[in-house]
C-alpha cells in the first residue's frame, strides 16, 4: 500500500516568538524554521510501516511557500520515497490545507495518510480531521500506536483519562501524537541521497482549490504578562505567603 505523510514548515519549537509591533502577526522574518515536531513523528511512522513491509511507498506532501522544499527534503532524508509540494505564497489555514491535501490524495490514492496531531504555530489541531471529512474516510487522532491488518488499521489513541483503541477500515486518516515513536536523526549520507529523490510541485490552481480563507486575523497581541514573583527563603515563608498573601490554602 501507499502511505502519504503530510508535513508543515513551522518556526522551530525552541524559538521564543515575538509579536510584531503593528500587531499584524508574529515576527518570523529571521527565525529558525523546522519541520513541525508532530509531522516528524508522522513521517517516521510512515517510514517504519515501509520498513516492516506494510507499506510499499511513502510520499511526503507539504503545502506552503517554496522554502517548504527544505522540509520535504528532511522527510525524504528520514526515508520518504518522493515529495510533493503544493506551492503558494498565500498564508494557508487548515481547511484550505485539507482541501489541497484532498486533491493530492485523490491523485495519489494512498491507503493511509498520516499527519501530525497539530502544528505548533497555529495550534489548530484540525487538518487531519478535516481531510478525513472531505474524503469521507475514517479517522484516528492522537495515535500512540498503529497496527496494519488486512484492509484495516488498529490505532491506539491518547484521550483524556487514558487510552482507547479503534479499528478503521482503510483507506483512513491517522494523526500522530508525541508517543507514537521517536523520530530518527537524519544522517549526512541520507541528506545527500534525499537531494536526488524526486520532488514534484503542484499549485492550488492546478489542483482546483481556492487557497484563500474566510477567517481573518484582525490582530495578534502579546499575552498579558504576569506580575513579577518573589523568591522565598524557606518552607515556612512559602506557607505564610500562600495563606496570608495569596490566600489560596
Amino acid at each position: 500500500m501507499k502511505v502519504i505523510a503530510a508535513v508543515k514548515r513551522v518556526v522551530d519549537y525552541n524559538v521564543n516568538v515575538r509579536v510584531k509591533a503593528d500587531q499584524s502577526g508574529v515576527d518570523i522574518g529571521n527565525v529558525k524554521m523546522s519541520m513541525n515536531p508532530f509531522d516528524e513523528i508522522a513521517v517516521e511512522a510512515a517510514v517504519r510501516l515501509k520498513e516492516q513491509g506494510a507499506a510499499a511507498e511513502v510520499v511526503a506532501v507539504s503545502c506552503g511557500t517554496a522554502q517548504s522544499q527544505e522540509t520535504l527534503r528532511t522527510a525524504l532524508a528520514i526515508g520518504a520515497d518522493r515529495g510533493v509540494l503544493v506551492q503558494t505564497d498565500v498564508a494557508l489555514q487548515p481547511l484550505e490545507v485539507a482541501k489541497l491535501l484532498c486533491a493530492v490524495v485523490r491523485k495519489e490514492s494512498p491507503s493511509l495518510v498520516i499527519l501530525g496531531k497539530q502544528a505548533i504555530d497555529d495550534d489548530a489541531c484540525q487538518t487531519g480531521q478535516m481531510l478525513a471529512a472531505l474524503l469521507g474516510w475514517p479517522q484516528a487522532t492522537n495515535a500512540s500506536a498503529i497496527e496494519i491488518g488486512a484492509g484495516t488499521a488498529r490505532v491506539t489513541r491518547e484521550v483524556d483519562g487514558g487510552l482507547e483503541v479503534v479499528e478503521l477500515t482503510l483507506p483512513a486518516i491517522v494523526t500522530a501524537d508525541l508517543r507514537l515513536n521517536e523520530p530518527r536523526y537524519v544522517t549526512l549520507p541520507n541528506i545527500m541521497k534525499a537531494k536526488k529523490k524526486p520532488l514534484d510541485t503542484e499549485t492550488p490552481e492546478g489542483l482546483g482549490v481556492d487557497p484563500a480563507s474566510r477567517l481573518q486575523t484582525l490582530r495578534v497581541e502579546e499575552p498579558a504578562g504576569r506580575a513579577p514573583g518573589v523568591k522565598v527563603a524557606d518552607v515556612a515563608a512559602l506557607v505564610d505567603k500562600l495563606k496570608n498573601e495569596a490566600k489560596v490554602i
Partner: protein, 309 residues
C-alpha cells in the same frame, strides 16, 4: 441566532467541560441548546437540562453513539446543524476529534480553543504555545468553535429547567469500530478542572520518587500533573501531561516541583492564579512565571511543605 453546544459525557455523567462551553455560548448571545449524543444517555440529558442558561436539550440515543466515534458523532451533529448559527465543542480530546470533521463538511473554517468572545463573529485564541493571542473574525455563515475550558467560568450545574427533546439518531457509518478503552482510575480531582494542581518534572528522578508528591497532593486536595519530560521518562502516565500538547489547566494554585519550565510546559499552566515553583536551579525559567519560588532540594522541601500544611 441559536448556539448548539455538544455535550462531553461518558453516557452517565455530564462532564464539567460542557458547562464552560455553555458559558462561552452565553457570551455569544441568543438561545443555547445542548446536544447529547450517546447510548442510554438520558441521565446526561437530564443533567444538561438543569445547567443554567440552557434553553433546550437534544438527545440522540443509539448504540452506535456509545463510544464517541468521530464519524458517527460528526454525522449526528450535521443532522441537526441546519438550525444553528454557532456550534461549540469543549476543546477536550473528544471535542477536538469531532469539531473539524463537522466544520469541513459544512465547508467552514473552524476556530480552535477560543479564550474570549468579542462579538458573535470575533474571537480570541492563543497561538504559538500561548506566546501570542490572535483575534480572528469569521465570515462563515456557521461558526464551528472549540472552547478552551479554562478561558470561561463554568455556568451553574443546577437551576436551569430546559426541555429534553429526542432526535433521530444517525445510522452507523461503518467506517470505524470501537475496540476498547483503558481508563486510568483515580480518586483525585480531574486534572483539567482541579482547584489545585501539583506537578512533577524530570527533577523527581523516578516513578518511585514521584510518589513523594502524593501526600502533598492529598493535603491540598490537588490533582497530580507532570511535565513532558516526566511522562516520557515513564515517571507519570501520559494523561497527566500539562502543556501545549497535553492538558491546559488554570487552577487557583499550581505547584511545579522539579520542572524547569520549557515554553511547551508553560503553555499549559501559565494562566494559573498562583504559581509556586520548587527547583534547585535558581536559573530555571519556571521562576520567571512563578509568584513564589523556593530554591532548594525538592526531596527535602516537599516533605517539609507537606508537614507544614
Amino acid at each position: 441566532m441559536t448556539t448548539l453546544v455538544i455535550a462531553e459525557h461518558d453516557n452517565a455523567q455530564l462532564k464539567g467541560a460542557t458547562l464552560n462551553a455553555v458559558a462561552a455560548a452565553a457570551k455569544i448571545g441568543g438561545d443555547v441548546h445542548v446536544l447529547v449524543a450517546g447510548a442510554n444517555a438520558r441521565a446526561v440529558a437530564d443533567q444538561a437540562a438543569q445547567a443554567a442558561g440552557v434553553a433546550k436539550v437534544l438527545l440522540a440515543d443509539a448504540p452506535q453513539l456509545a463510544d464517541g466515534l468521530a464519524e458517527n458523532v460528526a454525522a449526528q451533529v450535521l443532522a441537526v446543524a441546519s438550525s444553528y448559527s454557532h456550534i461549540l465543542f469543549p476543546a477536550t480530546a473528544s471535542g477536538k476529534n469531532v469539531a473539524p470533521r463537522v466544520a469541513a463538511k459544512l465547508d467552514v473554517a473552524q476556530i480552535s480553543d477560543i479564550i474570549g468572545v468579542e462579538s458573535a463573529d470575533t474571537f480570541q485564541r492563543p497561538i504559538y504555545a500561548g506566546n501570542a493571542i490572535a483575534t480572528v473574525q469569521s465570515a462563515d455563515a456557521v461558526k464551528v468553535i472549540t472552547v478552551r475550558t479554562t478561558g470561561f467560568d463554568a455556568v451553574a450545574a443546577q437551576g436551569g429547567s430546559a426541555s429534553v427533546e429526542d432526535v433521530a439518531a444517525v445510522a452507523d457509518s461503518g467506517l470505524s469500530t470501537f475496540v476498547g478503552r483503558e481508563v486510568a482510575k483515580s480518586d483525585r480531582p480531574e486534572l483539567a478542572g482541579a482547584r489545585v494542581v501539583v506537578s512533577g518534572g524530570r527533577g523527581l528522578g523516578s516513578a518511585e520518587n514521584f510518589k513523594i508528591l502524593d501526600p502533598l497532593a492529598d493535603k491540598l486536595g490537588a490533582a497530580l500533573g507532570a511535565s513532558r519530560a516526566a511522562v516520557d521518562a515513564g515517571y507519570a502516565p501520559n494523561d497527566w501531561q500539562v502543556g501545549q500538547t497535553g492538558k491546559i489547566v488554570a487552577p487557583q494554585l499550581y505547584v511545579a516541583v522539579g520542572i524547569s519550565g520549557a515554553i511547551q510546559h508553560l503553555a499549559g499552566m501559565k494562566d494559573s492564579k498562583v504559581i509556586v515553583a520548587i527547583n534547585k536551579d535558581p536559573e530555571a525559567p519556571i521562576f520567571g512565571v512563578a509568584d513564589y519560588g523556593l530554591v532548594g532540594d525538592l526531596f527535602q522541601v516537599v516533605p517539609e511543605l507537606t508537614n507544614a500544611l
